[in-house]
Structure formats: C-alpha cells, structure tokens
Amino acid sequence: MALILFFVFAIAAVLSGICVAFSPFGNNPVYSAIALIMTLFFLACEFVLLHATFIAVLQILVYAGAIMVLFTFVIMLLNLSKEEIGEERLTLTKVVGLVVVLIGLTYQIGRVIWAHKVAPVTLHLTDGGPSNPAFGTIQDVGVKLFQDFLVPFEVTSILLLVAIVGAVVLAKRKI
C-alpha cells in the first residue's frame, strides 16, 4: 500500500516538476510557480511516507506556504507580457543545457540501477516502520537539532540574520 502511494506521489512530483519547465497550459510563469508548489507538496507527501512527518509539515509550511508565496508575488507584480518573456527559440545554451541534464539524469538512473544490482535494497516504508519508533517526531528532531547539531544550527541562524539584515539594507531605499 505504502509502496503504491510512494510511486503515485513520486510520479506526481516528477510530473509537476517537469511542468515547472514545460507547462502544458502555456508559457506563463505563474503556471510554473504553481507546478513548483505542487512538486514541493508531493515531496512533503513522500516525507510522510518516510515517517518524517515533522519535516513534511515544515516543507509545506516554509517552502510551499511562505517562500513560494513571495515567488508568485514577484511574478505577479512583474506581470510580464508576452513580448518581455520572448519567443520560444532554440539557442545554443538551451541545447547545451538539455544535453548536460540528460547526461546527468542518465548517470543518476544508471547509478541507482547499478547499486541495486550490486546489493539489492528493500524499501523501508510505512509497512515496516523505522527501527526507532520516535523517528521523525518533533521531540526527535528537536533533540537532534539542539544537542547533536547545536553549533551548525546556531551558525545557520546567524547566517539567516545576516541575510535578513542584508535584505533590509538592499530593499529599504532610505533608512
């Protein structure tokens, strides 16, 4: 059951990920943004299947709920017209980019298949459950963050503070 769900969400995530770049509805950045939100959402579903409910919720709360709102905000405010977006043209950059992506993709898929051949792994999803029953709960994540990884955590917060100050300096025209 969980395996079926895993593949449903995985395919949905990949499909919506593709929609970010090639939207079937038209060349509109808002469609891409919505597709990205959907990708993030399906990724969160995968996290739930992996027993990381806290991370799943944070994924939606922070990425889909807050950061992507700012993205759509900006896209909507710019309100690009067709001319500004430009015609679809096949440039050298695009071709090179496509080739690089394809090579990377083939390499990754090949690696997974290779690894599976060498040492077959079984998927530990909801059916079996993780070895530690507290895995993925808020207590667990909290303990990890504030005991095992305290220094990186605090350094990250300082980094964020720097980013906030920088954003204020850049955005505020007259302080």
């Binding site: 808002v30 919505i34 939100i37 944070l58 709360l61 889909a64 709920g65 709102v69 405010l77 709960t137």
Partner: protein
Amino acid sequence: MTAQVVEALVHAAIKFAILVPGFVLALAALMSWIERRQSAMIQDRVGPNRASIGGVRAWGLFHIIADTLKFALKENIVPRGSNPLLFRLAPFMAMAPALIVFAVMPVGPTNRWVVSNLDVGILFIFAIGSLSVYGATIAGWSSNNNFSLLGALRVSAQMISYEVSLALNLVGVFMVFGSINLQTIIEGQGALLGGVLPKWGIVVQPVAFFLFLAASIAETKRTPFDAPEGEPELVSGYFTEYSGLALATWFLTEFAAVIMVAMMATAVFFGGWQIPWLPPTPALVATWWFQIACVMAFFAKTLFFVWVQMQLRWTLLRMRYDQIMTMGWKYILPISLANVLVTGLFLLLTR
C-alpha cells in the same frame, strides 16, 4: 496489512465526510443567516425575514436556501482579459485547504472523534492553512483587475505576516502541555488548577489567547483586518470579479475559516471537548453518553466563538493596511515572543 490501511482510510473518509460537509459546511451556510440576523439585532433592524415556504418564515432561515438558489442561478462570469484557467481554479485553491484543516480537529474524547490524530497536530493546520493564501493571491492576479491585484497583494502580505504571530502564540501552550498534538493538549486541559480552576489554555496562557484571537481574525480577513477586501477602496478586493457560485465559494471559505478559528480557540484555549469540573476518567470516557456530551460541549464552545467573532465584526472598524502590518510585526509578534520567553522561564523555574 494493506486491508488495515484501506480500512483506516475508509474510516477517515467517512469521519471527514460527516465532520466537514455535515457540520462545517452546514454551519457555514447557517452563518450567513446568523451574521445577517445578529447584525440586524445590533443595528436596530429586523434583518432578513421574508423568505418563506408556504407562509412559514422561520425567522428568515429559508434565506439560506434563497441565497444559495440566487447564487446558483447567477451567471458565472469570467471577465475578458483574465486568465480563465486560474480564475476558475482559484476558489478551489482557497476552499480545499480551508476544509482539509478540519481533519486533525479532535471533537471528542477518543480517537474515534478525530479524523486523523496526527502527531504534528497543530502544525498540520498551519501548514495546510498557509496554502490557502494562494487561492486569494491567484484569484486577485488572474482577474486582471487592479482592485483585485491590490487586494491580492494585501492578502498575501497580511496572511504571511500573521501566520508567524499565530504560530508563536500557540508555542506557549505547547510548552505548558508539552505536546503539539491537539488531542494531548485537550486531555492536558482536563486537570484542575489548585482544585478550582480548570487548567484551560486561557487560564495558563491568557496573553496568548487574546493575541491568538487577533492574529487569527487577521488570518480570516474579517473586520477589523479586512483591508484586503476593504470595500470602500478596493470594492471587494481579490474576489471583485467573481460572481455566481464562485463568489459563494469565497464566502463559504471565509466562513469555514471562521469556524476553524473558533475550533482552534476552543481546542487550545477553552478545553476542547472537556466539560469543566467533570474530569474524563477512563470509565467515563468509555461510556457513549459521556462521549456525546463531550462532542456537544465542543460544538457549543465552537458556536460561542463563532458568535464572538460575529460580534467583533459588527462592532469594530477596518484598520488601515499599514496599521495592520505595524500591529502584526511591532506589537503582536514581540509580545508573543515575550510570552514564549516568560512561559519558558516559568516552566524552567517551577520544574
């Protein structure tokens, strides 16, 4: 194994179907009547009382049906120059999260009375609730109307800002009860403080409650925080261009949000399904009548908070957009932070 999962899914679906269309949507429809009658009482008016079936007026209750019919029979206009796909999609993008959040709300003492007793409880509500901003934003943008766009900008800024304070206000409660699972929090509120006062959220976290109420009304975008749909300058804000059932969807979404706020306030600050001074011992909880009584208590409290919000809406005025922002960031947020700090200190010292 698979059969169990399927069974659990079916159970959850049935519970959700009973709770959401059966209670939430029904109450939301009723609220359109409550709002009009209550405002009429406040304002020395009679209010709607003309809709009748065979001469029976029933205090204007049939206006719900009349309103629905009227909405359903109106043309669903998609304005020229709008983005038809997104324009049609937006009400659903707002409606779906507003209804999904009810899935983790425990309305009764056992797990039977909650659709899905998630470990992350309230965070789930926040996460899904944070998605509801897209509906409004995209509605405003896709309408291709400057009023709608301004409304959409206001709504997204306001909702993101107040989400932070909303979550922070509840942190104090989480600390006191040591959990973010709603069922655990409600169970924790069954105890009596000093044998007299119920250990309700409002008793242990009074500051947080009032800030929570303010922040959550801001989330529902109702007066005094209804600048995004501020009628005098933005006509109807982000849903200016909507008509027919699509417009009704926006109203239902708003009412669903009001009910959600009422339920949250009930569950976190007013003891949820707890009946005061009647501690739920395991023997009591096992009886069916106690469970029903608890559910009744929960819904009664919810209705009370719906009433409170209505009362606020018809007594207060609309704040200015920058005042809303100032209030959110400069007053509510720091006070919530201080509240968390004080609570933490208190818990540390009394441990």
